[in-house]
Point group: C2
Chain length 514, copies 2
Amino acid sequence: MAELNFGRVLRHAARYSDDVAIVDLGTGHEASYAEHLGRIARACAAMRELGIAPSDPFAVLAGASHGYVELWRAALAGGGVINPLNTRLAAEEIFYILNDSGAEVVFVDTTHAPTLAAARERLPKLRLIVQLGDAALEPACDLRLEDLLAAAGATQALPAEPGEDDAAVLMYTGGTTGLPKGVVLSQRAIVLVIHRMAMAYPIEPGMRFLSFMPLFHIGGISAWGLLLPFGGRSVILPSFEPAAVNAAIQTHEIQMIGAVPTMLALMLEHESFASDALASLRLILYGAAPMPPPLLSRLMTLFPKLALGQAYGMTECASTATALTPQDHERGGEILRSVGRTLLGVELEVRDADGVSLPQGEIGEIYLRCDSLMTEYWAKPEQTAASLVDGWYRTGDAGRVDPEGYLFLADRVKDMIVTGGENVYSLDVEHAIVSHPSVRQVAVVGIPDDTWGERVHAFVVCDPATTTENDLEAHARQTIAGFKVPRSWTLQDAPLPLSAAGKVLKRTLRERLT
Amino acid sequence: MAELNFGRVLRHAARYSDDVAIVDLGTGHEASYAEHLGRIARACAAMRELGIAPSDPFAVLAGASHGYVELWRAALAGGGVINPLNTRLAAEEIFYILNDSGAEVVFVDTTHAPTLAAARERLPKLRLIVQLGDAALEPACDLRLEDLLAAAGATQALPAEPGEDDAAVLMYTGGTTGLPKGVVLSQRAIVLVIHRMAMAYPIEPGMRFLSFMPLFHIGGISAWGLLLPFGGRSVILPSFEPAAVNAAIQTHEIQMIGAVPTMLALMLEHESFASDALASLRLILYGAAPMPPPLLSRLMTLFPKLALGQAYGMTECASTATALTPQDHERGGEILRSVGRTLLGVELEVRDADGVSLPQGEIGEIYLRCDSLMTEYWAKPEQTAASLVDGWYRTGDAGRVDPEGYLFLADRVKDMIVTGGENVYSLDVEHAIVSHPSVRQVAVVGIPDDTWGERVHAFVVCDPATTTENDLEAHARQTIAGFKVPRSWTLQDAPLPLSAAGKVLKRTLRERLT
């Protein structure tokens, strides 16, 4: 019985030898599958050369590039355990993670090398800083990966297949509250989440995918794994920029993207947008924030052949747990406000604070059980035990399930607002506001209030010259109870601050008010 | 980490509660998912009542019906290990299998009950003969399953989830040569083959499937598992009969079928055929025999929106190993004569008689490694060891692989014809003949010959009044070497004898000539 490991997925992809695997619009690098797999094999050889054993974590601190993708795939092939670092974290947080993961080797781009080099004395485990890319060796770095790849010659041989339960990924999460925790994902988890997503979405052989999400988040990287067994062509931009995305879709006849709703809005609003130019699009996967209904309608009208998928997931489940499938989108109606249903291999329960299952329809904490669940939080047995209960993962998210199994998110459990003794879930309020046609983005938070304990406050991105608080309040009152309607508002033209995963940084917003 | 077991697939399907799960055109039974899952839960309770432990084999000797499907699913839910018996086997073969599997309980339909009842003294392990269906209790049977289901009340509770490596299926194979061997398939194998097929074919949620293949073959049952997680509606005919199949497709707006090429030809040739009436078809999976190119062209012309998939697989791999996907069919050309490429999770090597890998393009024995491989041949450690070599399964089939990985079958290794010192693979010859527009079916065998050792003989189904041996010989000479061209022919109007899996019974044909 062959084991489930990503090395076999890579070997499967070898059949696409002459097809284009990757086009990096940042560096100009383009590679066929044979070339791409060769570079991955040589990156594995480089890791051995650097003293990285298959079970050793190594870190990456870099913007998105083909080199980053190669490091991911070399790790998953059995070259080491990848510890991708969120480039938006404060230096202190990055140092904490590096000391916690114990990575001795960090791969960096030239932008991020100085941060690390300046702090070597605070990173006692750090042994080598390895520079990515073609530039000449920077003083901040010890050596260049490209030189190691060249030294590895022309090998196309991947390392021995990793075991099914071997750690493959060490990805930190939870930086917005408390200390980051390292999520350990096994080879099996990585393979099974590919199965799950490939069964849910209409992935066509040879599909052309444009990547502009960060590669240090599970949401950004999972689409890459999804395309690989089908010989997809992945085109990569270093980051999201509406004009660049619109241009790349047109030039490369892109068929699939993954984005957060705000990005989609920015693409459509940008002067570079022309629906004809995006006619190649066949599949958009989105998630991480509520989709404004007018935006969804506009997408469905502009691109009638487009399949839409909304994903809800988290690092601990190796990405997507529930999805609103293309068929759900066609069906329409109230379920479009949900995050869909569990995909095959995932089970869901809604429980109360004591961990007791609630009757269908009641709001409680979402527990997930899935075949791609994390192994543990790295070196944190107590937090692992608190989060993994009898094989179920406590998400910390609140939600309810309708009779057909569609999951409606309510809030992060700890973000729930208690005002005058009533529980208010910010997503309820956000959905009520975002359906107003002028609203582009919204975030609702609780802020301390002497009278009510907390009061509901809304940050709304719209045109403050034409939209008033009264308009929005009247609109919200049509769909939610009075105690949920925000008592104070911030209307602004500028977008809300987002995490790299595309989630609104509510902590930052709260700090603005206190 | 949740395990891979079919119990979770069934629980996943519970969401489709009110949708129609199954329509049995033989018995008139129709059930929603809630009702179908309830009957499966009660069948599990009945098995416990009958003293069948989760690890105990039980046998089924019956035609296809909803009750048979329920027994399959009850076994896979953890109710027992299903040992489905080929109803076309001789009584002696069935007795051998029952004594080998050790099944103490056999579920039968009224047609097959007498065979078994008459031989009780030869079946020392047989404890109970349980009658399927609604008919009154036959004297040949000990009790009725329906009475046990009724006694189980209204339970919807499935048994505890089986373990990933637990045996789920004990299916006998190889009856045409030597003693049948029991293939043991684990829960994991059953789930992973569903993943693999669902990733390869365009399965739509709620798809309507018509089943007319026997349920005791892996090819006939695997489509059932494929549809279940997507809430498909399965319509079942007791057996293949062209007019009944054509009528059922029209009446039930069937979207998917699985068939052998001969069945498809018979459907199209039948007076009941009208292409408009079959316009609902979206996906045809076929396999087990070469597809005549004129038939394939006709299908693709008649149904331009139809996706076609050709599967090559075997019980030992829990069904499909390689497939010619719908996209391969669209591409067309020489690859249409192949059985496609390995699906994700399957690896293939072509080796010589010593087990050494051959250079790409050479003909040798096909070895497969896959994540759904059988655990063992039941109670046959020597045959297991001979077939499973370092995790690879020796198929006994000969073939070659093209540079892109497409597998071209040559023959069963033991069916290879040696004539005048040259190796002739019957499939090569069959492909050369079947492309003649008058040929409906062909089988090539080697027969003893004093001069040549063996000589190539072809059985051809065509109209002997209008097609001559000379026509066929001239046609074959255009594409194959002279020594491969048949030296003798049997031209007939009647179809060739088929096994229940739809494979031509070459042993029967050879016996006609000797």
